[in-house]
Amino acid sequence: MNGPHDVGGDMAFGPINPEPNEPFFHADWEKRALGLVITAGAMGAWNIDESRRTRESLHPAVYYGSSYYEIWIRGLELLLQRHGFVTANDLKAGLPVDPAATPKRVMKAADAAPAMARGGPCNRPITAPPKFRAGERVRARNMHPQHHTRLPRYARGKLGVVEAVHDGYVLPDTNAHGKGENPERLYTIAFDGRELWGEDGDPTLTVSIDAWESYLEPA
């Protein structure tokens, strides 16, 4: 989906304004937001790809007008409603009003730190040999799917070089929509700056993306 999140190459966002000695959190609600996103995710009803898909579905005016933790919370409210854990009545009341779906699990305090240290790998064994080899020239497909994808617009249709061939990884395009992990081979693809941005592009620049096999075609 060509959503507001895909900002690579955009120019109107102004200065970066790095904050010296920035704290990890700027308000207590940000701490609760981080913990809510992780503990609600631990219920096992959705995956990281569906979380991203949901945040990207926010209206551009909302997405660009929100801090990142606000985007997370707005996305979480949508996920919780989609999966039957929270209703509009609950949110309106600010209290539990309606019954909820049963979660697969509830993360307990003692499980939290070990779960963070474990993480959740998303590489998967696949038997198919890689379609592309390191050093081979490939083109990122010119595609504009309605569904979630991780091929940024600035790379679509561009010629690049396979720099690394990785394991199979869960395919976000289907996994984000509850249509299965469908693991595919992942590649690191390097693009010359001028291929991406034209003659005025920085001649010293190379940009790489990590792309699933179905994002690529032979050059």
């Binding site: 900002v7 190459g9 609760r32 809510l36 609600a40 219920m43 919370i73 600010g94 730190a113 998303c122």
Partner: protein, 208 residues
């Protein structure tokens, strides 16, 4: 900056809360009330990312790479395993890649599509890393971006930008600064800034 001046359990002041504090507190109340989340688990997660996991982890990885060529080689070949050997594993660090700055090439890491960042070695990302100004310009105007961080690279230095579009997470290993010979690993780690491991900065110079 939206500071929450209210104590977390101070519920009778709810109608004075700023909108996000009220919104998040309501959501926590709903989920906890339904038994879907345990607020103590949130406390534990916040403790991990406020007090335990942060850029000092990555600084130790870099200091080890600077002082141990075998480790540097391992880090180049299998960063996830090499980093795990120092005790740093987990969420948003499951699939690590270390990219090494050289005299010819400077590396810069971004996630144009969201906020992908190697939590296990750098902790939670700063606001600017997650925000559109950095995400949009790092891939098209990296020299302009670096200038905003007070960094100017020689005109012929190659710039390699890594857009974290999948689940691989990138750690920049900056060049060891001149004059750092004879420093201990802890002293070396003190030179390694968070930004130098993203590519928006360089390590500190050792005290003369």
């Amino acid at each position: 900056m939206a500071h929450d001046h209210h104590d977390h359990d101070d519920d009778h002041h709810d109608n004075e809360l700023d909108p996000m504090t009220a919104r998040v507190r309501a959501l926590e109340t709903i989920l906890a009330g339904k038994g879907l989340i345990d607020p103590a688990a949130i406390d534990a997660i916040v403790d991990v990312y406020e007090n335990k996991v942060g850029p000092r982890n990555g600084a130790q990885v870099v200091a080890e790479a600077w002082s141990n060529p075998e480790f540097a080689d391992w880090l180049k070949r299998d960063a996830t395993a090499a980093i795990a050997s120092l005790g740093f594993t987990g969420r948003q660090g499951e699939h690590m890649h270390a990219v090494f700055n050289t005299a010819e090439t400077h590396n810069l890491v971004v996630c144009t599509l969201c906020s992908c960042y190697p939590w296990s070695v750098l902790g939670l990302p700063p606001v600017w890393y997650k925000s559109p100004p950095y995400r949009s310009r790092a891939v098209i105007d990296p020299r302009g971006v670096l200038a905003e961080f007070g960094m100017t690279l020689p005109g012929d230095t190659k710039i390699r930008v890594w857009d974290s579009t999948a689940e691989l997470r990138y750690l920049v290993v900056p060049m060891r600064p001149a004059g750092a010979e004879g420093l201990s690993k802890n002293q070396l780690a003190d030179l390694v800034t968070r930004d130098s491991m993203i590519g928006t900065g360089l390590p500190k110079a050792p005290a003369p």
